[in-house]
Symmetry: C2
Subunit: 518 residues, 2 copies
Amino acid sequence: MTGAEILIKTSIESGVDVCFANFGTTELNLVSAQDSVPGIRSVLCLFEGVCSGAADGYARMLEKPAMTLLHLGPGLSNASANLHNARRAYSPMLSIIGEHALWHRQSDAPEVMDIETLARPVSDWIRLAKSPDTISHDTASAISSSMQGNSATLIVPQDVQWNESLNPLIESAKPHIEPVDPVNINEIARVLRGGGRTLMVLGPKSLRENGLKAAARIRTKTGCDLVSETFPARMERGLGIPFVDRIPYFPEPAFDFFSQYDSIILVGAKSPVAFFAYQGGRSNLLTESHNIYALGSRYQNLAQALEMLSDTVGARNQGFMAEPDSGSQLADSLPTGPLTAEKACMVLAALQPEGAIVVDESVTSGFAYYQAASCAPHHDWVPITGGAIGQGMPCAIGAAIACPDRPVINFQADGSAMYTLQALWTQAREELNITTLICSNKSYNILRIEMARSGQSKPGKAFKNLTNLDRPPIKWTQVGNGMGVPAVSVTTAENLSKELSRSLEEAGPHLIELVLSS
Amino acid sequence: MTGAEILIKTSIESGVDVCFANFGTTELNLVSAQDSVPGIRSVLCLFEGVCSGAADGYARMLEKPAMTLLHLGPGLSNASANLHNARRAYSPMLSIIGEHALWHRQSDAPEVMDIETLARPVSDWIRLAKSPDTISHDTASAISSSMQGNSATLIVPQDVQWNESLNPLIESAKPHIEPVDPVNINEIARVLRGGGRTLMVLGPKSLRENGLKAAARIRTKTGCDLVSETFPARMERGLGIPFVDRIPYFPEPAFDFFSQYDSIILVGAKSPVAFFAYQGGRSNLLTESHNIYALGSRYQNLAQALEMLSDTVGARNQGFMAEPDSGSQLADSLPTGPLTAEKACMVLAALQPEGAIVVDESVTSGFAYYQAASCAPHHDWVPITGGAIGQGMPCAIGAAIACPDRPVINFQADGSAMYTLQALWTQAREELNITTLICSNKSYNILRIEMARSGQSKPGKAFKNLTNLDRPPIKWTQVGNGMGVPAVSVTTAENLSKELSRSLEEAGPHLIELVLSS
C-alpha cells in the first residue's frame, strides 16, 4: 500500500467518513487513495475556509472529526480563520495538508511555505509525516488527539504519499474521555452547600439537555445561579430545556454581573475574560475577591459530572424551573410590517421547527434572538466562537452533512457572509437542507457600536467608508442564484414568515435576503 | 499625537497614500487616525485576501507599498495566501495588523492568536510595536524594508494606538537601491565573450522595456540566449519590445531546455527549480555541469545593470531582433465560432489596447496567450507568482488604483476566481476600469493534466468529484451583477470580440463570462 492509502485506511478504521477538500498537485495521491480505498465521502469546497468551517460544523454536531484536505501553505492559510474558530469551539479537527516531497522542500520553489510554522497558531497537535511505514501511527495519533477536542494537523509530503509500505500495520484511534473525579464532585458540593452567592459557569459539553437539566436541578436545590460562556460551541435549547443566560459580551456589564457572586464554579469553562480591551479596562472578569473552583475539565464528560453533582447535593428528584411556555404565543403573534432585526429574530424563533440546528453568525442583527429562542421547539444553537467572521455558511454545511435529517438554519450577518460566500455553491452541489437568512443591514454595524463606545470624536470619512456596505448594495438573490441556491428577498415580517415556512418545507438549500429597516 | 496618528503620519511622509482595509475593533484607532491625519485613500475590501492581493497589484505597478490594514490573527490568516504571492513577486508590502492591548494579549480571549508566528512565513520583516514613542521609527523601518521588495508586517496593539506621545519625531522612509558593481559587470562580460552556449535568466525588475532592450542587444552582439523566470512579478511586453520566452513550467522540458547551455547568467533571478516534485525527479533545473554566474541582485537596478553590460560588450548601438509584426494580422483574422480557450487568447491579444495591464490568472485556459500577446500593443503582463490561487481579481484592483488612466484586463480562471470573488464588489465601489474575463471551463483543469502526467490508473469517483465544477454551474453574470459589476456571458469568439471591445470603451468594471468549449 502507498502511504496515501495507509492514511486513508487508518482514517476510515478510526471512523472518519467525510472529507471536506480542495486539493492541488501535492495532494493528488491522497485523492487517488480515496478512490482505491473507498469509505470516505468527499465534499468539494471552492475555498479552504469553507472546508475548515464545514469540518468545524460537522465536529460540533457529531463530536468526532471530519477530514479536511488542504493544498500546501496557501490552502492552510485560507483555512486558518475557521480553524481558529474550531479551536475555540474545542472541535475535533483533522487537517491533512499536502507538502512537497521531502527532497523538494528545501528548493524554495514558488509555492514553498513554512507549513509547520503556519500551522502552529491554529493547531494543538502538529506532525510532519516522514515515511509510509509510520504514517498509520501518525494518522491514528492525529485522530486520537482530535477526538479529545483538539485541532490536529498532519503534514504529508508527496513522496510519503506515493511511496509504499510492504506490510503496513493499520492502527485505529479510539475516543478517550477522562473519568470524572468523585473527590472533586464532593468538594464542589460542599461549596454549593456552604452559603454565599455562587455561580456555575457552564462550558463546552455541559450545554446539552441532560447537563442543563442537572444544572437546573442543582440551581433549584442550592440557590446557585447559572450562566453560559458567551460563545459556546453548541447549546441545546428551547421549550423544556432550562434557560441559561450568557456572560454579557461587553466587559462593563460583565464586571457588574460577576461582582454579585462570592464563589464561581467553572464547569469545564475557562476563567472568563473580556473579549476586547478598552482604555482603563482589565482582562479578567473575575477578581481576587472571587473564590474560584473547577468542576472537571473539557476532557471529561461534563454532563455526567453535573449529574453526579446533582445527586451529591440531593437534587436527583428535584423539579426545576421550566421557562415560560410562550412558544405558541410567539407563533400567534408573528410580527408584521417593515422588517427590522428584532422582528427577524421573533419570526425565526417562532417558526423554526423541532430539531432545527441554528448556526448563528447574525452578529448585531441577532441581539434579540437568544432570548426569543428559549421558547422555540427543541433545537441546537451553534454560534461563532473565535471572532473570525465567515464561519456561519461553512459551518451550516458541516451541520447538514452531520445531521441530514434535521433542518439547518443559518442566521447570518451580511458582512460576515461575504467572507466565505463560496459555501453556497457546496450547499447547492450537495443538495443540503440549509436555509440561509442573510441579515442585510449593509454595514459593519458592530464597529459603529464600538465607535460610539470608544468616546472618540464623531466618525469621519475613512471610518464611514470602511464600515458602510451600501454602495453598491450586494444583491444577495443574484449571488445566491448565481451559485445554484434559490434565493428571494423580503422587506416585511409577513414575507419573511411566508418564505421561511416555504423554504423549510422544500428540500435543498434556500437563501432569504432580509432587507432590514433600522 | 496618538500612536495611531503617528503611524499614519509617518506613512504619509514616506509616500504611502492608499490603504486597502478591512478592520475590526482592535484597529478602530488606526482608522480614526486616517480621519484626523488625512492623506491616505482608504479602500474597503470585503475579505482580507482582497486587501493583500490589491496591495500586491499596486506594488507591482508602482514599486512602492500601499498599506494593508488587517484585523488580528484572522485578518492576517485570510490575507496570507496573497501575501505569499506578493513575497514571491518581491512586492513592497506594508501590512499593519491590529493587536489586543499589550495587557490583554495574555488573556487568551476568544480572538487571541499568535500573530507573530502567523506572520513569519509571509513576512521578511516583522515587529510588534511597543510604544507611541517608538512607533514612528517602527513604521519608517517597516516601509524602508518594504521598499526593498520585502513583505513588512507591523503589529500594533490597541494601547500603542490610543496612547499619546507628547513630542513625537516623525521619521520618513526613503527608497534605497544598492549600486551596481562594475567589477561584476566586467566579469559577466568576459563570460559572454568567452564562448560556450550561454543563457541569461531574466529575473524581477529586468523585465522592463529598457532592461529587455539591453538584454536583446547583448543577445544579438554575443549570441547568448535569453529566458524569463516562469512567473515574474511583471513584464513589459508587446510590439517593439524584444520577445523573451519563459522557463517551461513542467520540469522535463525545463531540464531539456537548460541542458543546451554551458553557462547560466542569473539576472537577479534565483537558481531555477521545478515548481512541483515528481517521482524520480529532482528540484534543481541546473546541474553541476553548468557554470553559474549572477548579474547583480534584486536589490539593484537590474535594467541599469543590463545597460552597463550592453555597453561593456560593445552593444550600445547594436540593433536587435524585433518580433514579427503580426499584430495587425491578428486583428484582421479574429477567430470565429464556438469559443475555445485558444480562441479567447487570440481575441484578447488582438484587441487589448495600448497601455493595457493584463493581470493573468488564466491558468490552463491561457496557455496560448503569452505567445500571442507578443504581437499586442505595448502592455504590462502581471501573472500569479506564488501558486496561491485567488490572486487575479484582487491584483487587478491594485493595478487599477495605481494606474487609473490605463485599462486593466483580468484574464481569469473560474476556479481561481472563486477564491477571492469579493474583489468584484470593490471594483464596483471604486468604479475601477477593470474588465474581467472569466474563463469558464468548469473544472480544476490543471489537476486533470497532473493526473494524466502522474501515470496513475484512470481517475476515480473522488478525483472526478473534486475537480469538477459543473454541478451546479456557476452563473458568473449573476454573481457579477449581484456585486455591482455589469456582466455578460459569451459562447462565441465573435461575441467575445464584441463584448470585450464594448467593455473597454465604457468606464468602470465589467465582467465577461467566457463559456469555453473544449
